[in-house]
Amino acid sequence: MTDPIIRLSGIDKFYGDFQALYDVNAEIRTGEFFSLLGPSGCGKTTLLRTIAGFEDVSAGRVEIAGQSMENVPANRRPTNMVFQSYAIFPHMTVAENVAYGLKARKMPKDQIATEVATALKQVGLEGYGERASHAMSGGQRQRVALARALVLKPKVLLLDEPLSALDKKMREQMQSELRHLQRAVGITFILVTHDQEEALTMSDRIAVMFEGRIGQLASPQELYRRPVNRKVAEFIGVMNFLDVSVRAGTAGTFDCEIAGLGKAVVPAEQAPGGVDASVTAGVRPEMLTILSGENARSEREASGVVEDVYYYGDMTYYDVKLDGVDHPVTISMRNTAGRAVLSRQDRARVGWGAESVLLLK
């Protein structure tokens, strides 16, 4: 494997008495699409700005391409940023905006013109060069900001919530375009977002942050299937939590008695954070099944009452109150041909398996 493009070691950041980052350690691989995901105020933007050079670190170090970034200001770092507000210079045309960084590098004029044209083509704005930048739409400004940064061929492109100002349809389109663009240019992208769906669909790897710390750094699949704790599990997708009593079983397994579901033997790798008295059982909605019809069978069965039904066309979401549990669990079912949709107050048989249970602290 190649060396990481960015190495963050032991980063603390203080604003006066307030600590925004606590001992952040991470390695970002060359050429990957990396996301910093977390609720607002978790320190993800602060971390991005320390990489860009807009914020000093209080302790620890930032290395980019093997070079320490200590005392290297933002204008001499091999990173470029796409700002949340896009920060397009309103008094310049689109082409002047894109040429801005090249002019700062004192590139010859005719070469600038070629580079600008290439960059605009890359983001789908061919022929827009002479437009006034303030007359562009939100999505177009976004592309100008991308072109302006990419034309400098940075080692790392930093994106600070670039899609949050766009409407839903435009956002989805830009998500796939960003992904394609990243593959095409082969530059490492670091995306800051609070939208877990966006992070899951776009990233190679994701760092989930809470209160200035990285809670988990893993691939989207790993994050969804093996969240290390309850907090991460709650933030990524939907997770049902049930009380559980655990005893150590044979050969590194745990004997569990899960409220509403029943007994199960859970292997140790399904308890990524270890086991103690605070542990709860987590089950994803799609890991539970509503058994309909006499012949439907499952490895294990529980039962409950349907409290609410949310019909989405392709999917139906049920809130089911399992017998002996006071809060409902969410169960998602694909509406395949011939599968009946239950109604409120129906009794439901719920199928589940031990392999879908996580023990989380």
Binding site: A87, G101, A104
Partner: protein, 269 residues
């Protein structure tokens, strides 16, 4: 709609009261009589000729222009520094400092004039045009800070960060990004401080040495009734000049606002 009629009448009376005296200036400036009163006697350009031939008036005008231009440049420069600092950085004692900068706005000019006179004389400096500039900068700076603060606050901070991020130095960023975007505010600031300085009387009266400014000169001439019509002519010239100035500045402000798509960049009209 009876109340609507009364409201229109009120507006009409209000406007007449506000502008009629100023409109009388040109009327009497062209009136062929040394007594300023109705009925009018006939058309003449004589009063403008008198202005042309009065050397002392030319000196006073030159003094006033020199003072007004210097004041506009100095107080706007100071205003840029203060407005930029207060809108970008948080520092200890910020509110107090900004408060002290703004106080001359409400301080009676007579107090500013007297106290400056005492200090300058005590320190052993001679009164000159530059002591007047000093006083005018003091009273104009708060206006400049107020106008420029709104210009700087309307400027998205990430624009400057983007310029720095794209490889420019902080100084180049200021000239290439910050200044062009706050320029309408800078023009407004220069214009208003120029205007304030040009017609300021009290401070100029106290701090003037042997060289009077235009308002001080006019005040001196009011003792002689036969000079009154020529002062009317002078007033007419000043009126046209300042209207032209304002219109030009506003034209440029709107043009640049249209060019950048920024709605309010610190204009005051």
């Amino acid at each position: 709609m009876k109340s609507g009629k009364w409201f229109k009448l009120y507006i009409a009376v209000f406007l007449v009261f506000l502008y009629a005296p100023a409109l009388l200036l040109p009327v009497f400036a062209f009136n062929d009589s040394s007594i300023v009163s109705f009925p009018l006697k006939g058309f003449t350009l004589n009063w403008f000729n008198v202005l042309w031939e009065t050397e002392a008036l030319h000196e006073a005008t030159k003094n006033s222009l020199l003072i007004a231009v210097s004041t506009a440049i100095i107080s706007t420069s100071l205003g840029i520094l203060a407005a930029r600092a207060s809108s970008r950085y948080k520092f200890r004692g910020q509110k107090a400092v900004m408060g002290f900068i703004m106080i001359p706005l409400v301080l009676p000019e007579i107090i500013v004039g007297v106290s400056l006179l005492v200090v300058i004389v005590q320190m052993g400096f001679d009164l000159s045009l530059w002591t007047i500039v000093l006083g005018h900068v003091l009273i104009c700076t708060p206006f400049c800070v107020a106008i420029l603060s709104s210009a700087f606050l309307n400027l998205d901070q990430s624009l400057e960060e983007a310029s720095f991020d794209l490889g420019q130095t902080k100084l180049a960023t200021f000239w290439l990004v910050t200044m062009p975007l706050v320029l309408p505010g800078v023009v407004s600031s220069m214009l208003i401080s120029f205007t304030i300085s040009l017609d300021e009387f009290i401070i100029a009266f106290f701090l003037a040495g042997t060289e009077p400014t235009l308002p001080v000169y006019i005040w001196g001439q009011l003792r002689f009734p036969q000079k009154l019509p020529s002062l009317m002519a002078l007033g007419t010239i000043l009126l046209i000049l300042s209207l032209t100035l304002l219109a030009t500045a506003e034209y440029f402000r709107r043009r640049s606002a249209r060019k950048t798509g920024i709605e309010d960049a610190g204009g005051f009209l």
